[in-house]
């Protein structure tokens, strides 16, 4: 089985859980089947502290999505998640400048530990008071447009929009260091 692991991170309320829910299709696994790693995985699913989603798109091909834990504590779980991930998306609620500093804190953590490809997804752009992408980039510390990661708009409640965001992330990582 070939698996690509994507991490979905961002401040609380950015839309991580909704994003993962919109894209994944976790089917019920026949428990009579021999106990593969996967069934074990599903049984323990409810006990873990982060969101997990899966999208199987071929007999031997699956996409796994992991949402970082809600609290702002950066524990070992974060470390495991990013070390095993191929790429990540940072979700930022465009209408909540209150959280920009927290998004920056997450970026600081991620950049320090991992060089994997990443993009930024702006959520809540449909809400009043939403900042535009150019200004959010500045608020997140990306002052040079040439050195800024791709910034896209995504509505986690719409699965088509989430699919587009995942395409953007996958395509960005194809240009990067994956292959």
């Amino acid at each position: 089985m070939e698996i690509m692991r994507l991490v979905v991170t961002g401040p609380v309320g950015a839309g991580k859980s909704t994003f993962i829910r919109s894209v994944s299709e976790i089917e019920v696994v026949d428990t009579d089947r021999r106990a593969t790693d996967e069934t074990l995985m599903l049984k323990k699913r409810t006990t873990v502290a982060f969101d997990f989603g899966r999208l199987q798109f071929g007999p031997e091909m699956a996409l796994h999505l992991y949402g970082t834990p809600g609290q702002s504590r950066f524990d070992f779980m974060w470390d495991i998640l990013i070390r095993k991930a191929h790429a990540y998306i940072l979700l930022v609620a465009a209408h909540r400048p209150h959280e920009f500093r927290s998004a920056r804190r997450i970026l600081g953590f991620m950049k320090q530990r991992s060089q994997i490809p990443m993009i930024i997804g702006l959520t809540h752009t449909d809400c009043p008071g939403a900042w535009d992408a150019e200004n959010i980039a500045i608020a997140l510390g990306y002052l040079d447009a040439n050195r800024c990661p791709p910034i896209i708009t995504v509505n986690p409640n719409q699965s088509a929009s989430v699919a587009e965001a995942v395409i953007a992330l996958v395509q960005h990582s194809m240009q990067g260091c994956l292959v």
Binding site: M41, G58, H64, D75, K84, A85, I138, A139, V166, V179
Partner: protein, 282 residues
């Protein structure tokens, strides 16, 4: 696009950092909410040119600078406005009066100090207020001395004098976080002693509580200094991992135990299939 919000959400320090780093030009209007009703509201206006503060006033009547000059007895209102008639449109009034020999460079500095440094620094004390930044507003030549200061320099001064930090409590870097320098070499801004001491630790590996221990200062104090270094764009907060990593089967979540320790490359055909599949969902 105008940006609006509340200082309780996006603090003045963050706003100044944003305006400086974005090299913004325009007018920042702050409406202090001190009481209820219209009487409880007080407006402050701060003009920016390319991320630098060029003027401040408490009204838009363009009379602030002339009044200040008059109050100091340097030039009567009438004389000042008569002289300013001869200024080229768009020339800062201060520079124009200096060119005509009506004010000295030293007087301009004093004016700028009271108009910008003192007035704006005091705004850091505001508990809450509504703000709007409008990039379309032209610069007010009549309120300008011709001097300017980087927004973050004003922030540093304002936060150094700040007594009550409660409004910024959840903005401060965490005591478990480290700081990392984001500039080349040493800061150009003039730092005070404790800021230099904390600056020495901007290697990205020492937590603020450890710095506090070494410097024998309360950790809150170090968090405040760290916040100043962050909002003046000298350093960035780097969260450190709270617990030491020990990967046992119990601690590692089940989803991930099936995964290798390091992400292994996925094939080109996998990625193409995935993109093709997702396109079908769009």
């Amino acid at each position: 696009m105008a940006i609006t919000g509340y200082l309780a959400e996006f603090s003045l320090a963050e706003m100044f950092q944003f305006l400086e780093q974005g090299c913004k030009t325009g007018l920042l209007n702050i409406c202090a909410l001190t009481g209820s009703g219209v009487e409880g509201q007080k407006n402050h206006y701060i003009w920016f040119n390319q991320g630098r503060i060029v003027a401040a006033a408490s009204s838009l009547n363009q009379q602030g600078l002339v009044t200040m000059i008059g109050q100091r007895g340097w030039l009567g209102d009438r004389a000042a406005s008569r002289l300013s008639q001869t200024c080229t449109i768009g020339t800062p009034m201060g520079l124009c009066l200096k060119a005509q020999g009506a004010l000295t460079a030293e007087q301009l500095k004093l004016l700028f100090y009271s108009q910008v440094m003192r007035q704006v620094c005091a705004l850091f004390e505001l508990g809450d207020g509504w703000f709007q930044f409008d990039p379309k507003v032209p610069l007010p030549a009549a309120e300008m001395t011709g001097l300017s200061a980087p927004a973050t320099e004003v922030t540093l001064a304002g936060l150094r004098a700040l007594k009550d930090w409660s409004a910024l409590a959840d903005k401060l870097p965490d005591s478990t976080s480290a700081l990392i320098s984001i500039i080349d070499g040493k800061p150009q801004l003039r730092l005070n002693q404790v800021e230099w001491q904390v600056w020495e630790f901007t290697s990205g590996s020492v937590s603020l509580s450890a710095i506090a221990n070494q410097l024998r200062l309360p950790v809150e104090k170090i968090q405040q200094v760290a916040f100043r270094l962050v909002v003046s764009a000298l350093a960035e907060e780097i969260p450190l991992i709270a617990e030491p990593i020990s990967l046992t089967p119990e601690t590692e979540p089940a989803e991930l135990s099936v995964a290798p320790t390091e992400a292994s490359a996925v094939s080109q055909s996998f990625l193409q299939n995935l993109v093709g599949f997702l396109r079908g969902k769009v």
